[in-house]
C-alpha cells in the first residue's frame, strides 16, 4: 500500500541513499550541486521512492529533477491524482 506523503520520510530516504544527514535534504537543495548526488544516485533514489510511494517516474522526467522540491512536487501531484481517481 502507498504510504501517506510525508516530507520527513522523504528526507530520511534521500539521506540514507545519498549518505548524508536528513537535515541537509531541503526543498531548494540541488541534487548535483548541494547534495553531491550524481546521475546514478538519483536513479537509485527514484527507484526507492517508486517502491515506497507506489508511483512511477517515467525515465523521460528524470532530467527535470534538479532540486529536492522537484521531486516533492512530483510526489504531491501523483498523490492528488490518486485521490481524484
Amino acid at each position: 500500500m502507498a504510504s501517506q506523503l510525508n516530507f520527513k520520510e522523504l528526507q530520511e530516504l534521500a539521506a540514507e541513499i545519498l549518505g548524508i544527514d536528513p537535515d541537509q535534504v531541503q526543498m531548494d537543495k540541488s541534487f548535483q550541486r548541494d547534495l553531491a548526488a550524481d546521475s546514478l544516485d538519483l536513479v537509485e533514489l527514484i527507484a526507492a521512492i517508486e517502491d515506497k510511494y507506489d508511483v512511477e517516474l517515467p525515465d523521460s522526467e528524470l532530467e527535470n529533477m534538479k532540486v529536492i522540491g522537484d521531486l516533492w512536487k512530483f510526489l504531491e501531484q501523483k498523490t492528488a491524482e490518486r485521490l481524484e481517481a
Binding site: L13, E16, I17, D38, S39, L40, V43, E44, A47, A48, E50, D51, K52, D54, E56, D59, L62
Partner: protein, 345 residues
C-alpha cells in the same frame, strides 16, 4: 543497511519465468579462470582520456582491468580457463560430452570459439557451440548444461565465459572505455546426487530494450563491414535502473521457486557490471556485502566472464563450502537476464 520498503514491479516489466530443476541433478564440479597479464589502471586511463581515478571509482567501483595484448584471441583466454577448470574438477578433456562458450566477442562469426577450445583441449566428439546473450551468456550456457544433464543427454559439460572486449572499445568515449575488461572463466558441470547442485532457474529476455546496450551499427548490419569499427555503446541510466530491478526480481524468483528464503543465500555472485548496481540491489534484497562476491575493482566488466571470475575467486578464498546456497545472477544487452540458485556440492 537494508532498505526495508517493499519492492514494487514497474508497470512495463515483463513477468518472469522461473523453473525448478527437474530430472537428474547437476552441479558445478570445478571452476577455473584465465585473465590477460596486462593491467590498465584508472591512472593509466587518466593519461589516455579526459577522466579521473576518482570519477571512475565513485561511479563504477573499478580500479583496474586486465586487457589482452593486441592479437590475443578469445579462444586462447577461454582455453586457459578451461584447462584450469578441468584440473580443479579432476576431469580429463576426453570425458567431456559438451563444450559451451558464452561470448559476445568471438574471434570471428565462425567457427565458434567452442570448437577452437575443443581442438586445443583435444576433446573430439564433444558437442561444441557458442551462446550469445551478452553478459548473460554464461548463465544461459549453464542452463543448457543443466538441461542436457537432467535429460541424460550429457554427463559432463564444460561451460566457459570468455571475452576480449577491449577490441570493441572506443577510447574517446569515457562512458564505456573505462568500464570493460578482458578475461575468461570456466566451470565443469556434472551429474550430481539428489538435492545438490542447481535448484532453480530464472531466465528471460525483453527485446524492447535492444537499443540500451549495442555494439556496432546494428541497424545496418555493419558489424562485419570493413569500414566500421564495432564499438560498445550504452544508455547508462536506463541500464542502471533495469539492472537493479532485474537483480532484485530474479533473486526473489529463484529463491521462491526453490523454496529457499532470501536470508538463506550464503553467497550471491552477481554479474560485475558496476559496483553501484550490485550495492543498490544487495541493499534492497537485504544481503550484507559479506555475502556478495565482488571483484569488479580488479577486472572491470568482463561481460560473460564476470560471473565465473568472481565465483572462482570466492571458491579459492574459501568463501563457499559444501551445502551453501549460492546465487548466480546476470543481465545484459538484449535485454537478457538469467539467474540460478544452487546448493554447492
Amino acid at each position: 543497511m537494508a532498505i526495508t520498503t517493499s519492492y514494487r514491479t514497474r508497470s512495463d516489466a515483463v513477468p518472469l519465468r522461473s523453473f525448478k530443476a527437474k530430472g537428474r541433478p547437476s552441479a558445478i564440479a570445478g571452476v577455473g579462470v584465465h585473465a590477460p597479464e596486462k593491467v590498465i589502471t584508472n591512472l593509466d586511463l587518466e593519461k589516455m582520456m579526459d577522466t579521473s581515478d576518482k570519477w571512475i571509482t565513485e561511479r563504477t567501483g573499478i580500479r583496474r582491468r586486465h586487457i589482452a595484448e593486441p592479437g590475443t584471441t578469445t579462444f586462447e583466454l577461454a582455453t586457459g580457463a578451461a584447462r584450469s577448470a578441468l584440473k580443479a574438477a579432476g576431469i580429463a578433456a576426453k570425458d567431456l560430452d559438451m563444450i559451451l562458450v558464452g561470448t559476445s566477442s568471438p574471434d570471428g562469426p565462425f567457427p565458434s570459439v567452442a570448437c577452437r577450445v575443443q581442438n586445443e583441449l583435444d576433446a573430439p566428439g564433444a558437442v561444441a557451440w557458442d551462446t550469445l546473450a551478452a553478459c548473460t551468456s554464461f548463465v544461459y550456457a549453464l542452463s543448457i548444461a543443466d538441461s542436457f544433464i537432467a535429460t541424460e543427454r550429457a554427463d559432463t559439460v564444460l561451460v566457459i565465459g570468455a571475452e576480449v572486449l577491449s577490441r570493441m572499445l572506443d577510447y574517446s568515449d569515457r562512458g564505456t572505455a573505462v568500464i570493460f575488461g578482458d578475461g575468461a572463466g570456466a566451470a565443469v558441470v556434472r551429474a550430481a546426487p539428489k538435492g545438490a547442485g542447481f535448484l532453480s532457474w530464472c531466465l528471460g529476455s525483453d527485446g524492447r530494450g535492444y537499443a540500451q546496450v549495442t555494439c556496432g551499427n546494428i541497424e545496418k548490419g555493419a558489424y562485419a563491414a570493413k569500414d566500421t569499427q564495432p564499438f560498445i555503446d550504452m544508455v547508462g541510466p536506463d541500464v542502471f535502473k533495469f539492472a537493479v530491478d532485474i537483480f532484485i526480481r530474479q533473486a526473489t524468483e529463484v529463491c521462491q521457486t526453490a523454496g529457499v528464503a532470501l536470508d538463506d543465500i550464503d553467497l550471491w555472485v552477481p554479474h560485475q557490471a558496476n559496483f553501484r548496481i550490485i550495492d543498490a540491489a544487495a541493499r534492497r534484497i537485504g544481503l550484507p556485502m559479506e555475502r556478495v562476491a565482488v571483484n569488479i575493482d580488479e577486472y572491470g566488466n568482463t561481460s560473460s566472464a564476470s560471473i565465473p571470475l568472481a565465483l572462482e575467486e570466492a571458491v579459492r578464498k574459501g568463501r563457499v563450502k559444501s551445502g551453501d546456497h549460492v546465487l548466480l545472477a546476470g543481465f545484459g544487452s538484449g535485454l537478457t537476464w538469467g539467474a540460478t540458485l544452487m546448493k554447492w556440492a
